[in-house]
């Protein structure tokens, strides 16, 4: 059994292509200058249609998390930590917290992005506890 890979679309392909290059990309609106996640064809703040990719700092903190003890499928090795990360730039995203003791994870902890190869073509943005 395989992990669930992200489905393909022009925007998700561009986002995950950034991950392959070690970059966490956010869309910024050319009209209101605000960043958004997940990527869309329009700005979810003002409706602007001109959006540009910019590399995020990769810094953020844990808004909430869970330790999954019973995996969704055998392709995922439990326990694993799933978190919602509030990026320094503002948007919130879901990811894994890796290379940590799951029991030590807390809401509010600072995290930093790193990248994990899931296949020859797919690289996923994961986070590690900082400091």
């Amino acid at each position: 059994m395989e992990r669930t890979f992200p489905t393909s679309s022009a925007l998700s392909d561009a986002y995950y292509a950034g991950c392959r290059e070690g970059k966490l990309l956010l869309q910024y609106c050319s009209d209101c200058q605000q960043p958004q996640f997940y990527p869309r064809i329009l700005c979810s703040h003002c409706g602007g249609r001109e959006l540009a990719w910019r590399e995020a700092s990769g810094k953020g903190h844990i808004a909430t998390f869970t330790v999954v003890r019973q995996p969704v499928s055998p392709a995922y090795e439990a326990p694993y930590v799933v978190a919602l990360i509030d990026l320094e730039e503002g948007p919130r995203m879901m990811s894994h917290i890796v290379n940590c003791d799951p029991e030590a994870v807390r809401v509010g902890q600072p995290v930093q992005v790193s990248f994990e190869n899931w296949s020859e073509t797919l690289t996923m943005p994961v986070f590690q506890l900082q400091g």
Partner: protein, 390 residues
Amino acid sequence: MGENLRGKVAIVGAADTPVGKVPELNAFELCADAIQRVLADAGLRKEDVDGLITCNSMSMPLLYHAEAMAEYLQMFPRYCMAVGAGGGTTFSIIHHAASAIATGMADVVVVAMADSLRSGLSRQQAMLVQSSTGHPQYEQPWGLTVPAYYALAGQAHMAEYGTRPEHFAEVAVACRAHAALNPAAQKRDPITVDDVLNSRMIADPLHLLDCSLVSDGGSAIVLTSAERAKDFPHAPVYLLGMGEGHSHEHISQARNLTTSAAKEAGERAYAMAGLGPRDMDFAQLYDCFTPTVLIELEDLGFCAKGEGGPFIVDQGIGPGGQLPVNTHGGLLSHSHPGNPGSMFALTESVWQLRGTAGERQLGKADVGLLHAQGGILSSHCTLILGREAN
């Protein structure tokens, strides 16, 4: 422009199929069975029904579910549709049906829902189908189960308000105590807070007993106008308030992790009914996972924000509590066949308001609040039901 549906529509029939493990009927057949049972309860022939609303099933999804059901029963409604809003579907269906009756789109509407999550799907299939609520590009790859999605809200509530796992556990204990009084419930053996806390951890902070059941089952009701409702065998139960709120689909996009759109849904329903939380004799609150009930108690105004845990401990939501919640046992102990789950909270409320709930009949049951939500705290609908139209 506000809706003005207060007291105009009534429930005149209510019926459940057996729940739990019902392998002899598939999801579609369970739905047909529920419809036949509810027609009997309402004293109706199928020819008397001109509206049919259903919801799709996960174990047997159909492109035209309501139409296929009408065909199966050889019913020829003039109003026919299947609605989908996850666990919130149940009550948004009622909201739609009431509007249809009030505007003359139909006179007698059957609402029927069923699914076979236990017998119609393997454990793995059931898990994957339900977790497909996650975003296919930015959530699902992280491998969350449905409990894991809800655990994110539970953990956030703990961090923000100091809620403890014991508070969540109290919800499961209360639902089980109600179920112990209900011969139709799937799980009836009493449990303690320690039983919940000692059950296997599924996704922190949720233990196995913080999670709802996986069931087969179906249920149906009949709605008609308040004028016609007087001609039916059972005392009508009136719709006094209805309101919805929709804030997101994916939890990573939620406006707030601990305050849900139950707030708007509740405010809209209270406004229509001209009633408030203190007027409710009972509440049937969506309990797919225990933290959901805490959040709903707060967002629906039964207690202040963040005080759901202490409210449950101090006021009590079990039998004999200040606010009985899920008097049939809820999704945690009665049954949870997926989207139809809250139908059983609805039929239970009808029986409580009719005064026919048997051993678990509440001493005072004049007005009650029902709340359902779907997705991951995404789509919310509140109903307020009463024995009197005014």
